[in-house]
């Protein structure tokens, strides 16, 4: 009898894990609380570092899981573990018996309004990176009409004790430069500035993206965290930051300000997580067994984690972890 594996979360991690488990002859069951699979990446326009269209990747992933048993608009309301596996109750009152559980619940985007000084939700032309990505997909956003000066603020909701997120959210620097190039393509004669503390271009081809952003797209990177944003009489944004490399504070008026919001752990799984006895680490993400050989395991046998639920991750990281969790589950089943 092919064992059921319960996968909570139908984003990139959940889908990829299901695909691999299927190939290994197991029966993955995906429970997704939203109305469709794909997670955050499904709403992305293009991926860094080479501006690859996101739905290329998402189409392939969706195609691979088309005959996997999937519950949409459904959440796990209760879960028990007994000696022959896990007994889960879903919000549509169905029950699932599974040999192992994979938590692939991913991340939530930091609520930008928590950084009040940036005026998100208060000033007209402040938006988040996710909303800018929507603009690239749809081409429409009330806040963007032929802006002449655009600013990107890095580390919004990350590396910041004041919002209790001291970790680095890993992908926003690269995303910021990608978006800076993309917005420059849309508005070629706009001036684009990014305000960073450190430009963490960690992956392969990322430094080339940085060089391209500077040279071909003439984006100006200013080292200094924006401290305060306010609105002037005609609704444009006045930002204050210190150019720490020049050693002087600077003031600038912008038409659009994009906040690079960090990743935070998806809180909606907390109840089930406590039922399963999985704790959170100091960053508020799920605590895996250990960072090296136990990155997919947890303190509870049979409960596995993959993707951004344990720490901020890029798409390649997530896919990698989804594939590794499949083998961990396979080994666990056949131990």
């Amino acid at each position: 009898m092919k064992e059921n594996i319960l996968i909570i979360g139908g984003g990139a991690a959940g889908m990829e894990a299901a695909t691999q488990l299927q190939n290994m002859g197991l029966t993955p069951i995906i429970v997704e609380k939203s109305d469709k699979l794909g997670g955050h990446i499904a709403q992305w326009d293009r991926l860094f570092p080479a501006f690859h269209p996101a739905n290329d990747v998402v189409e392939q992933m969706l195609n691979q899981v088309k005959d996997v048993k999937t519950y949409l608009n459904t959440e796990v309301t209760d879960i028990q573990k007994d000696n022959n596996g896990f007994h889960a109750v879903l919000s549509n009152n169905e029950t699932i018996d599974a040999k192992a559980v994979i938590l692939a619940t991913g991340f939530d985007v930091f609520k930008a309004e928590r950084k009040q000084e940036y005026g998100y939700g208060i000033y007209n032309n402040v938006m988040t990176s996710v909303e800018l990505e929507q603009f690239f997909r749809t081409g429409k956003d009330a806040r963007i009409n032929n802006p002449k000066k655009i600013g990107f603020v890095h580390c919004v909701g990350a590396r910041d004790v004041k919002v209790c997120n001291t970790y680095c959210s890993k992908v926003c620097c690269t995303t910021a430069l990608k978006q800076a190039c993309e917005i420059k393509e849309v508005f070629p004669d706009a001036e684009v500035y990014t305000f960073y503390m450190d430009l963490r271009m960690f992956g392969p081809g990322y430094e080339d993206l940085y060089l391209k952003t500077q040279k071909d797209f003439d984006v100006k990177c200013i080292r200094g965290r924006v401290c305060e944003v306010s609105e002037d009489m005609d609704g444009r944004l006045v930002i204050k930051a210190e150019d720490t490399l020049f050693g002087k504070p600077l003031k600038m008026t912008l038409d659009v300000l994009v906040l690079m919001c960090s990743m935070e752990k998806n809180r909606s799984i907390d109840a089930i997580q406590t039922k399963l006895g999985i704790a959170n680490n100091s960053d508020g993400f799920m605590q895996n067994k250990d960072m090296y050989l136990g990155m997919n395991g947890t303190s509870q046998d049979g409960v596995f984690v993959a993707g951004a639920c344990t720490a901020p991750k890029s798409l390649p990281d997530t896919i990698g972890e989804a594939r590794s969790v499949a083998t961990q589950v396979f080994n666990y089943i056949n131990r």
Binding site: Q116, G121, S230, D232
Partner: protein, 356 residues
Amino acid sequence: MIIEGKQKIWADYQKDIPDDHYFYVRSCIRQAFFPGSEVTFLDITRNKLGKDFYENPYHTTCGGIAYHSDTIPQETAMTIIARQFALMKESGYENYVCSCITSFGCYTETLETWHEYPELEAKIRQYLWDSCKKEFAKPKYLAHASDIIYKLRFEIAKQSKFKLVNVKTGKPLKVVEHIGCHYSKMFPSKGFGGAEYPHVLVGMIEAWGGEVVDYPERRQCCGFGFRQYFVQANRGYSESNTHKKFESMEPYEPDLIITNCPGCPYFLDRWQYVIAEQTGKTYGKNGYGIPALTYEEVAGLVMGYDPWDLGLQMHQVAIEPLLEKMGIPYDPKKKYQGLNGKDLGVPQCPMHIKSV
């Protein structure tokens, strides 16, 4: 500006404080700067609104002016504050209200520090006993005088005789609100509306018919800070802070500045004269400045007090244009007469800023 965004924040930062039975302490310098303010506060609360605000004659400074000038250690200041609380206890009150913003900051800081370090509270209790043989009790509610006026703003509006409206044009006056830094920047949760968009003065302006001006340098400090302006050589630094604010609010052409701290109205008022003398520039219309009043004085104006009883003639910036805008009658001759009609003498008229 998306007003719903602000209202959401204001909803997050609500302070539940009673609006009666308070032990009132004065500020050590506000009487010197604007003598009408504190007496008006007591008159409005006691006589106009019938509230119980007791003032113990033996209360002293909170020690903030020395503490923030680095001349006394924090424990000394805490002992002074403990003595104030002791007086409150002896007078049978458990709600404490102070008139000065810096005091409010010191009291909040002290209570928070005692909360975090109970052993320090015990030590201060011992110091107080050794020095004055008094026992103190921590107040149940701590408020700033502007919180009270904020809570009673609608009652005041009901009894108001004038609105913050330009009677000639019918349009609401454009009012700049400036919050004292020690009010909510240090402990955002202790101020109505939090630190970024405090609501305490905005509430009053909107309740009394005015329109709030939200200019970029709204959060900029007025530059009063004890350490800065005590030494004459540093005073330019203080003045520049105010100058920065006026340069930023100028395009909005505000009619009035409302403040809730001893220092801000004083600096926002006096520096307009110094800036005018030094740069020849004034920020009000045709040579006048922008009047900078305390919330008590504005409450007084709205409730129909005589401007000279509010002590508005003590302000550097002439108040007459505002009175005309609000349609408040005033007797120019009695401007510089004492209570018993004695002539106090007209101050020398400055070169650049009109003072009627």
